[in-house]
């Protein structure tokens, strides 16, 4: 289902066929936590801003509206009105980062809902069942994302458990896909590499999970506070052990520069809340650096955010208008800023693909990493 069309160094230009369409890689996935993109952005808008894959959160949708509701409504695609590929995370990250009172056992994790404190149990089988109900194109394995920094012994034990959990995920995922009334019988499963910042654990774990026949492999537990160079070193250590014929996904990463460096190290899939979160704080990405649109200096600026940008915001509205909307606390400010920043990230991935297509990725990396590193 995954085909590498071209390589340049370790960077890969590929295509990945899902139940709801073919994804051109490298790709940046747009995060719609609760089946909606923050900032009043709908599935209709995603088409306009170049989104290929929408990413929704299993934990959030399990709590609200409930995955059984989504299933009864025909699955997440129909529910949210998006007919392109959807990836759902496993819920693991939110269980460990959002909820209070969590308790980890071999079976899984008991945690308290961040909404009403209700006690909920989630293990590998539960995560697979929820994601099966959601009917996403790509399900993610249930894993433990250990805190940074982690003690070696804890990270090792957690890593071993995450491996056992993946084996259970694979079994349950296969069982669910084969059921006669499953929402998406072609749902795929990606395994997740863990091991904190310890290269030996990372490599050991990657070698173990590579043999489990997942449809793709992710590197998880990075971009959680470790220095950027540590993140790059981990990717460098793990990547040679990731199956070359499967897509690779660097979870929750990152800045434009991080994405270019990830591609250079052989990564195909990315996602990050940064473009939408920054947008909500008036921080906008442009091809000549970032800007805070609330700044007084934009008060009378008739230009679009980025004159070279083709997003709906830049095609119709000025910096002065957007600044006014932020200062006046109009909800429209969020929407126009999020549309711009997501478009920027999707366009970044498109330009990376274009560079790979023409054998110009090294030059692209040199130029943009330099430029973005200076300003972003």
């Amino acid at each position: 289902m995954f085909q590498v069309l071209k390589t340049e160094g370790r960077a890969r230009r590929g295509v990945f066929a899902c139940a709801h369409g073919t994804v051109q890689t490298p790709v940046f996935m747009n995060v719609g936590t609760q089946g909606a993109i923050k900032g009043a952005v709908s599935a209709l808008d995603l088409k306009e801003i170049g989104c290929q894959v929408e990413l929704s959160n299993t934990y959030h949708l399990h709590l609200r509206p409930g995955d059984q509701v989504v299933r009864q409504m025909g699955g997440l695609h129909k529910f949210m009105g998006w007919d392109g590929p959807i990836l759902t995370d496993s819920g693991g990250f939110q269980v460990f980062s959002l909820s209070g009172l969590r308790k980890i056992k071999e079976e899984g994790v008991t945690f308290a809902s961040h909404i009403d404190g209700r006690r909920i149990f989630m293990g590998p089988e539960e995560s697979m069942r929820i994601q099966s109900n959601l009917g996403s194109d790509i399900a993610m394995a249930f894993d433990e994302c250990v805190e940074n920094p982690a003690a070696y012994e804890y990270a090792k034990a957690s890593c071993e458990r995450t491996l056992r959990w993946l084996e259970r995920c694979v079994a349950e995922h296969n069982r669910l896909n084969a059921l006669p009334d499953t929402v998406n019988p072609d749902q795929m499963l990606f395994g997740i590499n863990q091991g904190a910042t310890f290269p030996d654990l990372r490599v050991w774990h990657m070698k173990e999970i590579a043999g489990l026949g997942c449809d793709g492999y992710a590197i998880g537990g990075l971009a959680v506070g470790e220095p950027t160079q540590v993140m790059y070193d981990i990717i460098d250590a793990v990547e040679p052990h990731m199956p070359a014929d499967k897509p690779r996904y660097l979870m929750g990463v990152g800045t434009p520069s991080n994405i270019i460096e990830g591609v250079a190290r052989g990564v195909d899939f990315f996602d990050c809340v940064m473009p939408a979160r920054n947008a909500r704080h008036a921080k906008l990405f442009t091809w000549s650096g970032s800007m805070n649109i609330r700044n007084e200096k934009y008060k009378l600026d008739e230009r679009p955010i980025d004159p070279s940008c083709g997003c709906p915001t830049c095609r119709h509205f000025s910096r002065a208008y957007l600044r006014h909307l932020f200062v006046a606390e109009e909800m429209l400010a969020m929407r126009l800023a999020v549309l711009h920043n997501l478009y920027f990230y999707n366009e970044l991935a498109r330009r990376i693909r274009e560079a790979l297509d023409t054998g110009a990725f090294a030059a692209f990396r040199a130029e943009y990493t330099q430029r973005l590193a200076e300003r972003l």
Copy 2:
């Protein structure tokens, strides 16, 4: 500039030519207080939901971003990206309803900004200058909207002052339109009838202002707490004294039923924050009554809000999805609900026009007033 195409009883079907396009009347104007519609709705969306006239607030735009900023950006049309007709109110209503510490003199009103408490003076000339800077198609006269209930003597004195203010508005408006660098030299001015709930004051005032040659006349100071029948009675009393060859605007009104009754009494223009405000509270208008979309009973409802509605929300999303968005407090809930409710109001005006075109307004009024009165 205004032409009555057809009448049915006192109801009028007309066209009104503005600098930025021709308005089919009766018309419902969509409120964009600060140059943006509440609920993350932009000028681009207004075209999709059948909006003919956008209404912005002089008071708000004077405070933020400042009318001088809007002027320097080429006027409100260019600033907010809307190339259709715009009506600006005079600022009077907000001066009297939003700001603290106001002091009325013959010259005008000194008041405290609701944002930072700054003392601001606004009189007829200031209101005209601000609206001239905004460059709207229709400016509204600066008036005093007295509280309800009002004492007769106060209402009479206020009414007389509002008449003197209108004379000053007309003079200043003509002077501004003739300046070589005015934003919109074809800006029109509507006078506003006042007189609280006293028919004799209303009629006296209307007769006085009718002779001042305004481009249209509004009935102000209604829908501020008086019984609905009192409002209808005032319209009945005033309407015979309004120039038949000028458009009539019932300010800040109202429910769908109020609008139909207004049309039946010879009114051409309407505006109201109700559709957007109700939308933000999950209360949606449909052709079979209103609904609160947060209600549990919509949890698994696959139907659109209103199966007979052609708005972007109803064409793409289910009740169940919209309910989820409200319960999960997603900003997208506001946007989709506001788009629906504004579309409903614009469609209501369109159906009224259609009924007038075919001589079927009496039947339309009988059917819908009955149906809406029962449910809304």
